[in-house]
């Protein structure tokens, strides 16, 4: 029973962590699902947000302003990836890897070293919650409210005239262009917003964990993808509401699963392999199920 007790005790901490990472999962979902632009920038945007925010906080900048500047930096990173893809016709994944790799140096330059401790500084959490800032439930409440706010805004946007146009870009770029939608601009803004979300996740993360580190983003993308896939398995993707909810629900479930596996005795060293194998399995599943799927699809076109 020891195992369950320790898992049970970890639940609040894990919820807090998964809410923070759900920003990254939203940042993975938006290009991947809405824009059909598989993007890896998040892997660099997440630590970018953390490094910018951490550096600014230690420099005495207001934590809220620091978060906002981190968000803007993330936006710029995402726009860069999209621009590289659109302007130079470089594959989206490669463009993401290029930006992500260059961001590593930029993050180091911003911080001037590999790690900045923030324990002694005021953060968004200490400002809002004072001495109770370090309780998991305080973090859950604050981050949860922010996540709800972002979800509401995204949901409204994707049902607005502009948001519908952005979704059309991912659904069928030729059609979108024929309907007078500027595919390039929509893509750049969409991928920019996605990276801004990831950077926001990073900026919140450094404030809850008490330090910023250049290596903090390592593997976050695959975690995000795994969470997204779990979320979509639960909510489905039929409506935009389900699509927008999937990242948050997936993140909440995924991190509990990880926490459960770890308390059961999965070695942390094996975690990335396990996650990668899981994502691979989930992505491969539809292909394993229907052999000769191409024929079926063609049948559909001919009604």
């Amino acid at each position: 029973m020891d195992v369950f007790n320790s898992f049970y005790g970890l639940i609040p901490v894990t919820i807090a962590q998964s809410l923070i990472v759900s920003f990254v999962v939203l940042g993975v979902m938006l290009p991947f699902r809405i824009l059909s632009f598989p993007d890896l920038t998040s892997e660099g945007a997440f630590p970018l947000g953390g490094c910018v925010c951490g550096t600014l906080i230690t420099a005495g900048v207001n934590p809220f302003l620091a978060c906002f500047i981190a968000l803007l930096c993330g936006f710029a990173a995402g726009c860069t990836t999209a621009f590289i893809h659109l302007r130079f016709k470089i594959n989206t994944l490669l463009a993401g890897i290029l930006v992500m790799t260059m961001l590593y140096s930029i993050n180091l330059r911003i911080m001037g070293r590999t790690n900045i401790p923030l324990f002694t500084y005021d953060t968004v959490f200490t400002i809002l919650a004072g001495p109770s800032a370090n309780f998991p439930w305080t973090k859950i409440l604050i981050v949860g409210l922010l996540v709800a706010l972002v979800l509401g805004a995204m949901l409204y946007f994707f049902m607005s005239e502009k948001g519908t146009a952005m979704r059309a870009v991912g659904a069928s770029p030729d059609m979108a262009e024929a309907q007078g939608i500027d595919v390039g601009t929509a893509t750049i803004i969409g991928v920019g917003v996605a990276s801004a979300l990831s950077a926001t996740g990073g900026s919140i993360m450094v404030q809850t964990q008490g330090f910023a580190d250049v290596n903090m983003g390592f593997g976050i993308l695959i975690n995000g993808l795994a969470a997204l896939i779990i979320g979509e398995a639960i909510t489905g993707r039929q409506t935009i509401l389900r699509q927008v909810l999937a990242p948050v629900i997936g993140s909440l479930v995924y991190y509990q699963l990880i926490s459960f596996c770890l308390t059961l005795g999965l070695a942390p060293a094996d975690l990335k392999f396990a996650t990668g194998a899981f994502v691979l399995l989930m992505l491969a599943l539809p292909n394993l199920r229907r052999t000769g799927g191409g024929v079926q699809i063609r049948e559909k076109i001919r009604e």
Partner: protein, 264 residues
């Protein structure tokens, strides 16, 4: 004299210029359409029909030449800017609509073609009512399925939806790119009938590319035959009445043989 609704002068597009693979997709193309013209474009594969349509829609920027729509020079406008004048139905039913979005959302995208899009809520009750009304004319029951994903529709239903989306904004120019070619004969006829009804009711200036000679004869008031990126034969209103498929093919061959002889 009325202004031409569409005028292409000296339209030229050369792929792989200066290499052994150089190919003249459009070679000094001159075409003009009067308002209300329903012009059929025919020609063999590689004649430049698709390049012509793509050049008009802005998807294929010209190397040289001019294009104007209703008197306005659009040569330098890119595709999404030209969409304010042009509506297009694609050959592939999968391309002309957004499959993962609902029928209502697709109608919304089409309604705002070429208009500014704001942050206000998209599918308002007033719009839904209007779309239902427009879709009811198809008699396919789509008006009751505004919240259904377009990907779940059959090819014929999707092409019909594409057509309603295209004509609902009364575009200055309607481009139909073999839009019934991917459909079975019965569905193709259904979509074609709907097309003709809409084009006539709204007096739309229309360019229709087809491989179907029967359609070429039956529909429209003009025929343009293309070959090697140029207009080879033009058949006007009077001449078109009573012309047969055999006549069309005959004229096409005579003309292209004559050119081949000249070249020799």
């Amino acid at each position: 004299m009325t202004t031409d609704m569409l005028s292409v002068t000296g339209g030229t597009k050369i792929f792989y210029r200066g290499t052994l693979d150089e190919r003249r997709a459009l070679d000094g193309l001159d075409v003009s359409l009067k308002p209300g013209d329903f012009c059929i474009v025919i020609g063999s594969n590689g004649a430049g029909k698709s390049s012509f349509l793509n050049a008009v829609s802005g998807k294929l920027p010209l190397d040289s030449g001019r294009i104007s729509i209703d008197g306005q020079d659009v040569t330098r406008l890119n595709a999404h800017r030209r969409a304010q004048f042009i509506a297009r139905v694609f050959q592939d039913p999968m391309v002309g609509t957004a499959p993962t979005m609902t029928i209502g959302e697709n109608m919304l995208l089409a309604e705002l073609r070429g208009k500014p899009r704001g942050f206000s809520y998209g599918l308002t009750a007033a719009r839904r009512a209007r779309y239902s009304e427009q879709l009811a004319e198809l008699n396919l029951g789509l008006e009751k399925r505004l919240d259904m994903q377009v990907g779940l529709l059959s090819g014929g239903q999707r092409q019909s939806l594409s057509l309603v989306m295209a004509v609902s904004t009364r575009p200055k120019l309607l481009l139909l790119d073999e839009h019934t070619a991917a459909l079975d004969p019965r569905t193709a006829k259904l979509v074609m009938d709907t097309t003709v009804r809409a084009v006539e009711a709204l007096q739309l200036t229309t360019l229709m590319v087809t491989h179907n000679m029967e359609h070429a004869i039956k529909y429209g008031n003009r025929i343009i035959m293309m070959d090697t990126g140029k207009v080879l034969v033009e058949i006007g209103q009077e001449e078109k009445n009573g012309i047969t498929v055999a006549d069309l093919i005959e004229r096409f061959h005579t003309k292209s043989d004559a050119i081949a002889l000249q070249g020799a």
